[in-house]
């Protein structure tokens, strides 16, 4: 180690009062003569002060209770009965209540119904289509069909996200973003499909035709209520599929890249039937998200009445414009609810998970109206394939296929497809980590941090340039690299046993 480094290290220990008397007086002597060293000591002090400013974790008053419960839970179930004794008093009250309810079983229901009506009525007042209230454009509708996201207000910082969980059940999320939600999907799509102005107008008019149908599907009001029609998920699929059918007609060659097998006649029939049925069906089942509750209820949105009012409004558009611009939803979630056990049913019907910026609601099957639309689920594979391929080609988002025996990563760049394949017969990350406790996987950290739609993400897959900087000196970097090399050799030996193969391949996509 060079002398300068040694002195600086001593300074750090001096700051911590961890030097011997002799070392201490030596350092003090040096400090007296060197301005540079005094500055370095100041810098170290500053850093130490900064770290000492870190806020502590708030206390957890229930920690011991939870801990003891989980220790107890792992032990045998004897002595359980004695724990019931303190609740005897409560049980007596409960039994009393049960007797009252037995005599008058509708008491609670009546009370609840009465209250429910009043609450629901309050939140249902003055609901308007979000398309109108948030001034949504054709691009927003396209983004909704394509990315499942719909802005909920003029600020475009709050938006709705639709999705399906692993078992295929519908859920939605209301999210608050730090920044305005800006997607260029529509433009990207137009350029990926290479559509001319004429064709773009056609697509525009198709989307326009849906905006009227979508009108009654999501409603909002000034009480921060969002009402979502349970048909919305079907609508999204139908709009997207219809746009695909149109695109195929417009530019077959480009479309083949997105859906290589094309769209079958059967699929086209499903799309046409679905749209027909959706447009003609009337569904008054809505899910209401309000600042204090989430509930499902019926609601009749009168499109005609709304349109008459709208025409009236248009007459004085200038006077009303100001009012329109002021409209902004402000859904705020109580993030203290984070601590609520996420798997518990808060209101017995919807499963709700809340974070400071996201409210996710999983919808039980019974709340999605099953309009038996001619096998709409049969077009799911088509939609999924098209979405993935559009992401792949237009946004260069890598494809990751994962099965039990392999991981395959592909990305598209300059008309070439780069493909990496990792094959294995048996693979268990946890046991792999546990088998080499000394290996620091930190260096691989930078491989991730991938956000969808981020063009620069491919660079992040590459070797981390800052890796070197993390290490203090050349020697240490070398030492670390040697350790890593030994580790990798050991890993590759083990991989031989696991029959893992990594194959790399670059293929040119055929130019058309």
């Amino acid at each position: 180690m060079n002398k300068d480094l040694q002195t600086r290290e001593l300074l750090s220990a001096y700051l911590d009062d961890e030097l011997s008397q002799l070392e201490k007086s030596e350092v003090e002597k040096l400090l007296k003569t060197s301005l540079e060293l005094r500055k370095q000591l100041e810098d170290l002090k500053k850093i130490k002060q900064l770290t000492q400013q870190i806020r502590r974790m708030p206390e957890s008053p229930f920690f011991e209770t939870r801990l003891m419960a989980s220790i107890e839970g792992q032990k045998s179930e004897t002595r359980r009965i004695s724990r019931w004794l303190p609740v005897t008093a409560l049980a007596v009250v409960t039994i009393g209540l049960m007797i009252v309810l037995k005599l008058n079983p509708d008491l609670v229901n009546d009370l609840w119904d009465e209250q429910k009506e009043a609450i629901a009525g309050f939140y249902k007042e003055n609901l308007q289509p979000v398309l109108f209230a948030a001034n949504l454009t054709n691009e927003d509708i396209f983004n909704f069909a394509f990315n499942n996201e719909l802005p909920l207000d003029n600020t475009r910082k709050q938006y709705l996200l639709l999705g399906y969980d692993d078992s295929g059940k519908e859920f939605f999320e209301i999210r608050s973003a730090n920044e305005e939600l800006k997607r260029q999907s529509y433009n990207e799509y137009i350029s990926a499909m290479n559509l001319n102005d004429e064709q773009k107008k056609t697509v525009d008019s198709i989307i326009g035709s849906y905006s009227k149908a979508l009108e009654a599907q999501i409603l909002v009001n000034d009480k921060n209520t969002i009402a979502i029609n349970s048909n919305l998920w079907n609508y999204r699929k139908a709009i997207f599929a219809d746009l695909l059918v149109v695109s195929e007609k417009m530019n077959k060659t480009k479309f083949d890249r997105i859906v290589p097998a094309g769209i079958s006649n059967a699929e086209k029939m499903i799309v046409v039937n679905t749209i027909e049925k959706l447009k003609n069906s009337y569904n008054d089942q809505y899910i209401f998200v309000t600042p204090d509750s989430i509930f499902a209820d019926t609601y009749e949105f009168n499109t005609q009445l709304f349109e008459t009012q709208l025409k009236e409004l248009e007459k004085n558009i200038e006077a009303n414009e100001k009012k329109l611009k002021q409209y902004a939803l402000s859904i705020r979630f109580d993030s203290t609810l984070q601590t609520v056990d996420k798997s518990s049913n808060i209101n017995h019907s919807f499963r709700i998970a809340i974070d400071s910026n996201i409210c996710r609601v999983d919808i039980p099957e019974s709340h999605i109206t099953e309009i038996r639309i001619a096998d709409i689920n049969n077009i799911d594979p088509l939609i999924e394939q098209a979405t993935n391929n559009i992401h792949f080609y237009a946004y260069k988002v890598p494809k990751v296929e994962r099965t039990e025996s392999r991981i395959k990563i592909e990305y598209f760049d300059n008309d070439s497809i780069h493909s990496y394949e990792l094959q294995f017969d048996e693979y268990d990350i946890d046991s792999m980590i546990e088998s080499r406790p000394e290996f620091d996987f930190y260096s691989l950290d930078q491989l991730r941090q991938v956000k969808p739609f981020d063009d620069s993400m491919l660079a992040k897959y590459q070797f981390d340039k800052d890796y070197f900087d993390r290490y203090y000196s050349d020697e240490e970097f070398k030492e670390q690299m040697e350790e890593l090399q030994i580790e990798l050799e050991r890993l590759s030996e083990e991989m031989k046993n696991w029959k893992i193969k990594v194959r790399k391949e670059v293929t040119k996509t055929p130019r058309r």
Binding site: S12, S60, E64, I429, Q449
Partner: protein, 198 residues
């Protein structure tokens, strides 16, 4: 300022004599299970805090801290009274954190597109970045080797001797890693200097 002094007092590490913990552990070994609760009460906040700053993620804190104390509960009967109880406790804490960090890092590699957002608190929070958060984020960028001694020294107030026992490494190594951790931290925080001085 009285309130500040009071707060400072609360933050001071509780200095507990060896005998205190030893006596409680003996009670536990003799069959008094409630003694364990006293140990937990006494040390939980420090354990939770080490986990919090090491992981830079508040949602993992209670799970990891629980695992630490469950490990203690299961092995306390074999405690050999050769070193301080806290040295042993914090060693378990540090190792448990390292396990989690490694698992998280490896999982990230194998599921690059599955997670919608990052696991650290920062991606979700809309709160203004404050100094505490900026410094925590910077610390989480340090390699584990440099991160652990720095946290134990500057945030938890351990001596070099205690750190060397907890992390099972030489005093010289502790000294050098703390210094390098600080230098590295300075480098990471340099671009944020303006925000830190606000």
């Amino acid at each position: 300022m009285v309130s500040n002094d009071k707060e400072k007092d609360l933050q001071q590490p509780q200095i507990l004599s060896l005998d205190d913990d030893y006596a409680i552990i003996r009670q536990f070994i003799d069959g008094d299970k409630s003694a364990f609760q006293i140990l937990v009460k006494r040390h939980k906040e420090k354990v939770r805090n080490i986990v919090y700053i090491t992981m830079n993620n508040s949602s993992l804190v209670d799970d990891i801290a629980q695992e630490v104390f469950i490990t203690v509960y299961r092995n306390l009967k074999n405690f050999r009274f050769e070193s301080q109880f806290t040295t042993w406790l914090y060693r378990i804490t540090v190792n448990r954190c390292k396990d989690y960090l490694r698992k998280i890092n490896v999982r990230k590699i194998f599921s690059p597109l599955e997670d919608g957002y990052d696991v650290s608190d920062s991606s979700i929070s809309t709160e203004e970045n404050d100094v505490s958060k900026l410094v925590m984020d910077a610390i989480s960028k340090l390699p584990t080797k440099l991160r652990m001694p720095l946290i134990l020294k500057d945030i938890e107030g351990f001596s070099y001797q205690e750190i060397s026992e907890t992390l099972k490494c030489e005093m010289g190594t502790v000294k050098s890693r703390i210094f390098r951790g600080r230098e590295k931290l300075k480098e990471i925080l340099q671009p944020l200097e303006r925000e830190l001085m606000r």
